[in-house]
């Protein structure tokens, strides 16, 4: 560093110590601002993660396989053109964290009093136990105990609407692949609760084999899903499933293609973080610029002396910018430390069940585990430093434009 830069930096440093109260207030503001940016972002990220994880674990999984026409017409006519036994063998051999094959078709369910449209799921309960939206602990009755179970499990909301309950019978109607009506009576063996009330209304579950018989589709399914380690890193799973299904006329999709609502969450979250960080920065920048302007104003005279002695205006600008950057860097160090500390303190999550009523509507769980991502931390710090640099340019510019004579003769 040249002599000029060094003396300018030294002057910047000492000037911070000159008005300690002001420096301390500014540092506190920057620290709290950075903390608010980073910690609250971590909380929100945690909430979004939970929403997506919940949403994905429920039905879509990370990657899905369908008949090419299934998405436009999710009916039993559009079966995966590979035998289920074969599918199961392939997926089992691939070593995914979790996988399943199932039947999912629209159906109508009737009690003696009411009739409702629902989505009928024919599942292998042993496979889906890990990632079903059915809360097994609060289940009234029992869950399916195999693919050939002859009972049906329905949601609490639906049970209320149908005015039915465990032990009663209902009739399910749907179509078979030849567009013939298929109907069959089931005994309600379980009434489940789910995080999302809408699930309780929409989904009814029966055994996979039972569904195949009922719908006349010997050893076939409508979808196969695979779940990897991390919902943000789906690409490897996607590749793997594509390889498994190579040569078969099927479509393979990642979860964000299938659930556009959840798929929109991640980019929306990124956008939200950026806006949030910038909004806090704007509030901060008023304080920062004001502090710099004040401190420059108090130094008119010595800035004049430096100019008169032959220091270049650019060195004066450097001095003010360094002063601002020092404030920001120290504020950020404290703010980051606070954020890490508070994230660590609640690393196991905080119980938000008091406010969870509302959040569950959106698919969030009652436990909030903060997620401090490198991306978000870097973003917050970079925004503060880069925008802070630009914010300090105007006071710096002002200081460097003083007329030395006027500055020197200014009585202070």
């Amino acid at each position: 560093m040249s002599g000029v830069l060094r003396i300018s930096s030294a002057l910047a440093w000492r000037n911070l110590w000159r008005n300690r109260r002001r420096t301390a207030i500014m540092l506190a503001a920057i620290s709290v601002g950075a903390w608010a940016m980073i910690f609250l972002t971590a909380l929100t990220q945690g909430m979004v993660n939970e929403m997506i994880r919940d949403g994905l674990s429920v039905l879509p999984g990370h990657v899905q396989v369908h008949h090419p026409d299934y998405r436009d017409d999710p009916s039993i006519a559009n079966l995966i053109p590979v035998a289920d036994g074969e599918l199961e063998d392939r997926f089992d051999a691939a070593g995914f964290q979790d996988w399943s094959t199932r039947i999912r078709v629209p159906a109508v369910i009737s009690s003696e009093r009411e009739t409702r449209g629902v989505t009928l799921l024919g599942i292998d309960p042993a496979r889906e136990r890990n990632f079903t939206f059915v809360d097994l602990e609060t289940l009234d009755g029992r869950f399916l105990d195999g693919t050939e179970d002859r009972g049906i499990v329905i949601g609490r909301k639906l049970a209320d609407t149908l005015e039915t309950r465990t032990g009663k019978r209902v009739v399910v109607m749907s179509q078979d692949p030849d567009n013939e009506l298929a109907d069959r009576g089931f005994r309600v063996i379980g009434v489940y609760r789910a995080n999302l009330p809408s699930y309780e209304e929409q989904f009814v579950l029966i055994g996979k084999r039972t569904a195949q018989q009922f719908l006349n589709v010997d050893d076939r399914v409508t979808e196969a899903i695979a779940i990897g380690d991390d919902f943000r890193e789906v690409e490897p799973v996607l590749q793997e499933v594509r390889a498994l299904m190579h040569g078969d006329p099927v479509t393979v999709n990642a979860w964000w293609d299938l659930d556009t609502y959840l798929g929109a969450m991640l980019p929306m979250m990124d956008g939200f973080v950026l806006v949030w960080v910038i909004v806090i920065f704007l509030a901060l920048s008023f304080g920062l610029v004001n502090t710099l302007v004040m401190s420059v104003f108090e130094r008119v005279r010595e800035i004049g002396v430096m100019l008169a002695l032959g220091m270049r205006p650019s060195a004066i600008r450097w001095q003010i910018v360094v002063e601002s950057m020092l404030l920001l860097v120290f504020g950020l160090v404290i703010g980051n430390t606070l954020s890490f500390a508070s994230t660590y303190a609640i690393r196991d999550g905080i119980d938000v069940s008091i406010v969870a009523e509302g959040m569950e509507m959106m698919g969030a769980s009652a436990r909030l585990v903060p997620d401090l991502t490198v991306d978000n931390v870097v973003l917050a710090n970079v925004v503060v430093l880069v925008l802070g640099f630009f914010a300090s340019l105007s006071p710096a510019w002002r200081a460097s434009r003083y007329d030395p004579i006027e500055a020197i003769t200014t009585v202070q």
């Binding site: 040249s2 000029v4 002396v305 430096m306 100019l307 002695l309 205006p313």
Partner: protein
């Protein structure tokens, strides 16, 4: 050789309806190595003339040459360069940098010039000794008396041995002993290094040392006397 040449300098300040002629057609040549005192009653135009010569202030009209180079047409950056390397300033008020110690204030110009730290320190300590501030190098301006601060300002102006020193009332806050020592230092620098001095002063003792005494009144030069230095 001519160190400073001013040709027909005028500078007018407006104060409401009033026009103040701070410089009124001033022309003067100052030889390199000369020791000149500018004397005038308060408001006579001394500071205005020194500031113009030092390139801190632009005259309304006229020309200024330093060592043959015209400076009143230079850019701000060029003027800064000129002041940094060729002119030492002692301002009328002390104008030290409050966050720097006495020694750092003295080193300031050298540091901006790019002189290395060891050399800076050596020169700064030597000059502080010469102005009688031995052992005070680590004090900040607020911890020194007016006279001590003034001596730091003088030390800062002469430490890098500029060819031209412009001093505005350098002895105003000093007792007679200290101001004698200071003038002594000026004359030594003048003799050994050929430094040209232009000193604005009311102080008769300082005038006594001058080889040339220029008297001003209301922005005009009214007398120009060559005398034998005491």
């Amino acid at each position: 050789m001519t160190a400073v040449r001013c040709v027909d300098l005028s500078k007018t300040y407006r104060q409401g309806d009033q026009e103040i002629r701070a410089l009124d057609h001033v022309s003067i040549d100052i030889d390199a190595g000369d020791f000149v005192c500018l004397s005038a009653p308060s408001g006579g135009g001394k500071t205005t003339l020194l500031n113009a010569i030092g390139g801190l202030d632009r005259p309304d009209s006229g020309e200024i040459y330093i060592a043959g180079e015209r400076i009143d047409t230079l850019s701000k950056a060029e003027l800064a360069e000129l002041r940094l390397h060729r002119i030492g300033f002692v301002f009328q008020a002390y104008n030290l940098i409050p966050v720097l110690t006495a020694r750092e204030n003295v080193e300031f110009v050298m540091q901006v010039q790019g002189v290395g730290p060891a050399e800076r320190r050596r020169q700064a300590e030597q000059i502080l000794e010469e102005v009688g501030l031995e052992g005070m190098g680590e004090r900040r301006p607020a911890e020194m008396s007016g006279g001590q601060q003034q001596r730091v300002a003088v030390a800062r102006a002469i430490v890098s041995k500029p060819a031209l020193v412009l001093a505005d009332e350098p002895t105003a806050n000093l007792d007679s002993t200290t101001s004698d020592e200071l003038i002594d230092l000026f004359t030594r620098l003048n003799r050994h290094h050929g430094t040209t001095f232009i000193i604005a002063t009311h102080d008769r003792r300082v005038m006594g040392y001058a080889r040339r005494l220029v008297k001003m009144l209301d922005g005009r030069i009214v007398d120009d006397i060559r005398q034998h230095a005491a």
